[in-house]
Amino acid sequence: MSPPHSYRDGAKRVAPLAPAAASFGVAYGVLAVTAGMGILAPIVMSATTFAGASQFAAASVIRDGGSVLAAVGAAVLLNARYLAIGVATAPAFEGSRIRRFFESQLIVDEAWAVAQVGGGRIDRRLLVGAGLLLYPCWVAGGSLGVFGGDILGDPKRLGLDAAFPALFLVLLITLTVSRRAIAAAVAGGLIALVLLPIAPAGVPVIAAGAVCLVGLRRR
């Protein structure tokens, strides 16, 4: 059996994304404040929700004058996958319920992705190490954003938005070894692609996750 990973391994694995996460945190802070959310609410949101896509979605709906239902609906839909991810990774967590509760809050796409150790399982220390690095980057970025406006400028000018698909791609290739996994990946990617132009944000990813239900019927 390979030696267990350490928290530092998790932090090191996700470190390439930390600057990008901070920059997008700044971008979120700027967007939220210009959307009329005030200064405190965006920071609280970053600290409690800790999920970039849904925070951007909520801020966008608020900016466009949408209802509470529309903003909450979009954001919650975008985060629905964390319910499945939490159930799938549950065996990896240990300790008291309080501890499991707090450690589970560090679940975010990038931390979950770098914590994968094959077979759909994660290593808890990788997840927590990665999450503990990403979380302050995200919240600090958001705080800078609401106060500092355009400190870092547009993350897209630095190409940082390409960092995310690049990371997910590398991890996808690393983890997709069995034929069923390849089929699931192809199906998931196609579902997401087809739904992108016609479904609201979040639905493509959740629908792709539904592909895994195919595994339920195979036995």
């Binding site: 319920r97 992705a113 390409a162 698909p165 990946a185 199906a187 595994g215």
Partner: protein, 101 residues
């Protein structure tokens, strides 16, 4: 309560509950094999969807932009067995350069 704070509190509440439900309620219980089979496919399917939505996703549209240059560069870097951090930095740099041109 203002719209903004209502949204922040509701989204926060749901998200916290989503993330905690599995680990708090289920940890240490072995799941039936059919479920673990299904969850084993969750990672490839979700990762593929995340690649697609992050690479070409726009506002309810497919948007082909500089990100594709970065993703293409990442593929090349991977074929050359570059380390992860190098791959990502190169991807971001390639996209930035492509946007300058």
């Amino acid at each position: 309560m203002s719209t903004t704070w209502l949204v922040v509190l509701l989204v926060g509440g749901f998200t916290i509950a989503f993330k905690a439900a599995g680990p708090v309620l289920l940890a240490r219980r072995t799941l039936p094999p059919r479920l673990t089979d299904a969850f084993e496919l969750l990672a490839p399917a979700l990762l593929a969807a995340l690649v697609v939505t992050q690479a070409v996703g726009g506002k309810e549209a497919i948007v082909l932009d500089g990100r594709l240059v970065g993703v293409g560069t990442a593929i090349v870097a991977m074929c050359l067995r570059a380390p992860l951090i190098v791959t990502i930095v190169i991807a971001a740099a390639a996209t930035a350069v492509a946007r300058l041109l």
